[in-house]
Amino acid sequence: MLTRRIIPCLDVKAGRVVKGVSFVNHRDAGNPVELAAIYNQEGADELVFYDITASSDERQIMVDVVEQTARQVFIPLTVGGGIRTTDDMYRMLRAGADKVSINTAAVMNPQMIEDGARRFGSQCIVLSIDARRVPTGADEHDQASPPQWRVFTHTGANPRPTGLDAVEWARRGVELGAGEIVLNSMDADGQQTGYDLELLRTISDVVEVPVIASGGVGSPDDMYRGLIDGHADAVLAASIFHFRTYTIPQVKAYLAERGVPVRRVEGATA
């Protein structure tokens, strides 16, 4: 049976992990290569590096980080952030990334999804979507209208609305060749109260490709609900792993006890 994937995400700036990782003793806690190796030992099913470097000069550092990681860690590696052209994709894939994740650049130029999929295969192209729920009140008949979500770009300090409907954008992205979708709820992100399950389920049920839940995880139960109620194929998380609130083996033990198929790694104890 296909297992559900647990994916830690590391934000990297100029070759260093930001948003502190608190658990690493006697090691370089800011070194993405070492952290990747640790998460790999613990049974991470994939890794995501998200490059938040602003300047293009520093992008080469990310290429080096990817290359060093790929020499030591033999599980799938996705790189996102700052990828604007298929040549940017090529540099990361050549360095050892298995997939590239695109977000703002895909909204600006959807053709990029198709070009990337043609050149490297759909399995390399992950469409990352940041979505926010549109406030909908009940109408005059007290009938709640169906929920809607809109796509935003440049999320962080200054998110920009695109007007795109998130469900439509997901569908279109897959038509263009995206092989997976990472779905981030901006409403849930940082709240640690769980994924937006309705958003997840709505999109997971309309696209044929796997959907990875992101944004809002505070506990293993949130992940369980994302996988079961949200119909997600994989879950991505940052803080709860970095701050050691829960370890990957703990999350997997929790899921396994509830009948969710997960990959258990020998020697990684909860």
Partner: protein, 205 residues
């Protein structure tokens, strides 16, 4: 020395890194005359069978691959490198493949996510449990898969490992020295590295 076929497959660098990591000396080439002399050959692959076949044909590699296999040299096909061994593929319209393993490359049935992406268990055939390729890797271990198509092989005795995704499909084929995996050993963590190490050992015999 392990020869890795360089025909433009996206996972080539990662296959080479993983082989080097387990101690192999690797030669990367696309020159037919060099491939013909390979004592052990790896055919990596991602993407579509049609593109892969076209690349192999353009580089004049289809016959030498068959020659290396016919000579009984250890051979490892990975993912699409496994699928192109079949007789034909239904991907993007029917087309012929290498025909080294009778069988058809078919798309997974609907009603589930396609592609299959992630870690899935490989169950060994009873008769293959003690095969040196599987040394130190228990049956039922998980490997990393990314694919929308699978090999529907005509001869069930070639199926050394089986995996289920909507239906049971061959995840490892073995016929003498010809070996193929639908999963990516180079991305399957400890188990994948062990499998590559086993292949390297088997190549050195």
């Amino acid at each position: 020395m392990i020869t890795v076929l360089n025909y433009g497959a996206g996972n080539l660098p990662n296959v080479v890194r993983a082989l080097e990591h387990v101690g192999a000396q690797v030669l990367v080439t696309e020159v037919p005359e060099v491939v013909r002399e390979a004592t052990s050959l790896v055919l990596p692959g991602v993407g579509a069978t049609r593109d892969t076949m076209q690349s192999l044909q353009r580089l004049g590699l289809t016959e030498v691959i068959a020659q290396v296999v016919a000579r009984g040299r250890p051979f490892l096909g990975i993912c699409v490198g496994m699928q192109v061994l079949c007789t034909e593929s239904e991907e993007f319209g029917n087309h012929s493949c290498l025909g080294l393993v009778p069988g058809v490359v078919r798309r997974f049935p609907g009603g589930q996510k396609v592609p299959q992406i992630g870690w899935n268990q490989v169950q060994y055939a009873e008769s293959m449990r003690s095969h040196p390729l599987f040394a130190h890797i228990p049956s039922g271990s998980e490997f990393y898969f990314v694919h929308s198509y699978y090999c529907d092989v005509a001869d069930p005795s070639l199926v050394a490992g089986q995996t289920t995704y909507g239906l049971p499909f061959p995840s490892v084929l073995i016929r003498d020295q010809l070996i193929a995996t639908q999963f990516h050993p180079e991305k399957s963590g400890t188990c994948g590295l062990q499998l590559l190490r086993n292949f390297v050992l088997l190549s050195e015999q």
